[in-house]
């Protein structure tokens, strides 16, 4: 208990870092994921190929390798940014591949007849997309996106190992100050549980509110 109370600010900073990383990387992942999903269902072959390549490569790349390449590799091209930005970039791009797949399979669950009916009523493409297809796709997409964002929050721990201020990184200064290492990790674990369970709760509420026939 002492570990937590004595170092409340350190833990708070770490937790804040994790939340910040998660939120910004989630936003990036959602935007990129939607864009890539749009590419993958576009009627333009080259965009489809680009989207497919993006998803295939990123889904099969270990995140550690991606961090390694981004954090240590981009500076070689003269692109020097704070580590935190690199971490958000790596996490966001990695997660976008999973979001893209979730969104795409969500769009594919909408029966073709829905779009056909909408068009035969004279709806334009934006109307079909915005009022018929996406609202229905959104429902079936909630659980997989929630799952993906939880994975993102957990993956943010890797950023801590690449010296970004983050919850996992808290253990280093504390073990140097001679605190009990087991309790140090216990409170780190509690911090992560707090973050993942919050995301889980948010998406369970969304699922209850908008989900498919419950």
């Amino acid at each position: 208990m002492n570990v937590l109370l004595d170092n409340l600010s350190l833990y708070g900073e770490g937790l804040l870092g994790t939340v910040e990383l998660t939120v910004y990387a989630s936003l990036l992942a959602l935007v990129l994921g939607f864009l890539m999903a749009a590419f993958r269902v576009a009627p333009v072959a080259s965009l489809r190929v680009f989207g497919t390549a993006w998803v295939t490569v990123l889904r099969n790349t270990p995140l550690t390798l991606l961090f390694f390449a981004v954090v240590l590799g981009l500076p070689r091209f003269g692109l020097v940014l704070p580590f935190k930005l690199f971490a958000i970039l790596a996490l966001g791009c990695y997660t976008s591949a999973f979001i893209c797949e979730a969104v795409r399979s969500g769009i594919n669950t909408v029966p073709v007849g829905q779009g056909e009916a909408a068009r035969s009523l004279g709806m334009t493409f934006p109307q079909t997309l915005g009022e018929i297809v996406l609202p229905q796709a959104f429902r079936s997409v909630i659980p997989p996106i929630g799952s993906t964002l939880i994975a993102l929050a957990k993956n943010s721990a890797i950023a801590g190992a690449f010296s970004v201020v983050e919850l996992l990184g808290v253990y280093k200064p504390l073990s140097e100050r001679g605190y009990n290492i087991i309790w140090t990790f216990f409170w780190i674990a509690v911090g992560y549980l707090l973050v993942t369970l919050t995301i889980s709760a948010i998406f369970n509420v969304l699922e209850k509110r908008f989900g498919v026939a419950s």
């Binding site: 269902v41 009627p43 333009v44 080259s46 965009l47 680009f50 490569v57 889904r59 099969n60 790349t61 270990p62 995140l63 550690t64 390798l65 390694f68 390449a69 240590l72 590799g73 070689r76 091209f77 003269g78 769009i107 594919n108 909408v110 073709v112 007849g113 829905q114 779009g115 056909e116 493409f125 079909t128 997309l129 297809v133 659980p143 997989p144 929630g146 799952s147 939880i150 994975a151 929050a153 957990k154 943010s156 721990a157 890797i158 190992a161 996992l168 290492i181 087991i182 140090t184 990790f185 674990a189 992560y192 549980l193 993942t196 369970l197 889980s200 998406f203 369970n204 699922e207 989900g211």
Partner: protein, 290 residues
């Protein structure tokens, strides 16, 4: 040409012409992007002989192969152990004894919610374990817990009539499980199980962070060598195709198995799971296992 979606009709001649125009624009943009990356690579001198010469040395090739061997060693150990742990935890979660069920549920939910890296660091730093066992233990606990959920949802997804018929024939619970439910569940869940093993393979690279001498670690050693002018980008260009190739091979296997099992008459009573890694949401409704 396009798989039918709800988004748009089969295009007519005028739309096709418009799409061709878009296609040209998009292709030019993508090629420009690729060209810009190549230009950056060339102007920062990533293709100079000095940076690529290390890969000619036998010692360095051996270092890389050694690293790859260590990665595969950790993967195989973790895969076997997590399958075993997953089976044990799934049996516990399906048990008739409430206490056992609760304990197993608690274990599964805890390890699924915890970042894998935190567990690995805990085992490595706090319990003072050597890197390989620490990595394997972390991978086993995490993937075992996720696999337990996969197994459990597989068993629960088997058509109810199968269980009822088996009981009606006078089988005991163990017999129902081992002879009727588990074989069908495993066949149907095989794609999801292999996909989870892809996750395990990717996560072996976390060993890099606890100084386990795996593939990425070997790459780092070469990349930080001043004699070869810090060949960082070449190392990434050599290492990532190997990693991506291994994972793609395994993902492709999962998809192949999924397609095969869908035609298999032995899994008629269960819907074959899609080749996707396990779900991470705790509590609340699990997505339907079709």
């Amino acid at each position: 040409m396009i798989t039918t979606t709800a988004l748009y009709d089969v295009p007519g001649p005028r739309t096709r012409a418009r799409h061709r125009l878009y296609a040209i624009g998009a292709t030019v943009a993508i090629l420009a992007l690729a060209g810009w990356v190549l230009y950056l690579l060339f102007t920062t001198g990533q293709f100079t002989a000095a940076k690529w010469s290390p890969f000619l040395y036998k010692g360095i090739q051996e270092l890389l192969l050694n690293g790859l061997g260590n990665t595969l060693k950790a993967f195989v150990l973790a895969a076997v152990l997590s399958l075993a742990l997953g089976a044990v935890l799934a049996v516990g979660r399906l048990s008739d004894h409430r206490a056992l069920r609760w304990v197993c549920t608690l274990v599964v939910e805890f390890f699924r919610a915890m970042p894998l890296l935190v567990m690995i660091f805990f085992i490595y730093v706090a319990l003072q374990v050597a890197p390989l066992p620490a990595l394997v233990a972390g991978l086993t606990l995490y993937n075992g817990s996720v696999l337990a959920e996969v197994f459990r949802s597989g068993v629960n997804a088997v058509d109810r009539g199968q269980r009822e018929a088996a009981y009606a024939l006078g089988m005991r619970k163990t017999q129902v499980m081992t002879h009727v439910l588990v074989p069908q569940a495993v066949r149907a869940m095989l794609p999801a199980i292999i996909s989870q093993l892809v996750v395990a393979l990717k996560d072996t690279s976390l060993g890099f962070l606890i100084t386990y001498e795996e593939f990425l670690h070997a790459g780092k050693l070469i990349a930080s060598n001043l004699d070869y002018d810090l060949p960082f980008i070449p190392v990434v260009m050599v290492i990532s195709p190997v990693y991506i190739g291994m994972c793609m091979l395994l993902s492709w296997l999962a998809n192949w198995v999924a397609r095969r099992q869908q035609r298999n008459p032995k899994v008629e009573a269960v819907a074959v799971a899609a080749a996707e890694p396990g779900n991470l949401m705790t509590g609340g409704p699990q997505p339907p296992v079709r």
